[in-house]
Symmetry: C2
Subunit: 150 residues, 2 copies
């Protein structure tokens, strides 16, 4: 599978959030070509402001491999991660981040912050912005619906 | 109870991490003068790189009050929060952060980043650095022990 296929898997997760009425973001963690963690945003459903897609996926991946270090893993996300999730990615020792849409207000990779470019950080994380119209589109649709009171 | 008393409660949590061989950091979340969440770092014990003291305390607080918003709450932490935890504090709508020692390498409030000073952030968080020698001291002791191979 290629990067775009894993983004498609992350998009499937985002659709689950959409169905729940949650901000539609999805993520998958991949190690050696296999998905070891999946997550979709469910912070309202579970009364937990920290349950962004990335947090759920990282925690599942760690439980699956029985290790708190995800050395060599890549996380695919439908949207640019926020500060909390970028920090979580650093702590989990994930090697690479691929994200498919930008988050102008809260994005911590290239938008509001550039945390993976910080020279003081003890861990290096590669990142790739791989635009996918559906991943940004579902967010636009969601917020349009919210404004209309859907 | 005053700020220093709640820092003492956070310190008790840090001692629990120390006993587990984990980086000794503790936190408590306080709302209307009552502790509604407690946490100590246990990322290695639970194979979960995200279980910093703050994350555990915030999640417990949200479960306790049945709400993902901790409007009006204060979090007391023995050490300056990292990027992930500062992000988590923003997402949980905590009003104020009191921390008792600095984290030169990873601190996200006044050291490596100043995220609560970011003008683009949609949420405002007050912060107070209230030095407490024991809170920094237990971290120094822990890392000294590590270097000696204790």
């Amino acid at each position: 599978m290629e990067d775009k296929d894993f983004i498609q898997e992350a998009y499937k997760e985002a659709l689950k959030s959409y169905s729940l009425g949650e901000v539609p973001v999805g993520a998958v963690v991949v190690l050696d070509g296999e998905i070891i963690g999946r997550g979709h945003n469910r912070r309202i459903t579970q009364n937990n402001p920290l349950l962004h897609a990335e947090i759920v996926a990282i925690q599942e991946a760690c439980q699956n491999i029985g290790n708190w270090r995800l050395d060599g893993a890549t996380i695919y996300i439908t949207n640019e991660p926020c500060l909390m999730c970028a920090g979580a990615i650093l702590h989990s020792r994930i090697k690479k981040v691929v994200f498919a849409s930008l988050n102008q207000k809260m994005g911590a990779v290239v938008s509001n912050y550039k945390v993976f470019d910080n020279q003081k950080s003890p861990y290096k994380v590669e990142y790739v912005y791989l635009p996918d119209e559906r991943c940004g589109g579902i967010l636009t649709d969601f917020f349009k619906g919210k404004r209309k009171g859907d």
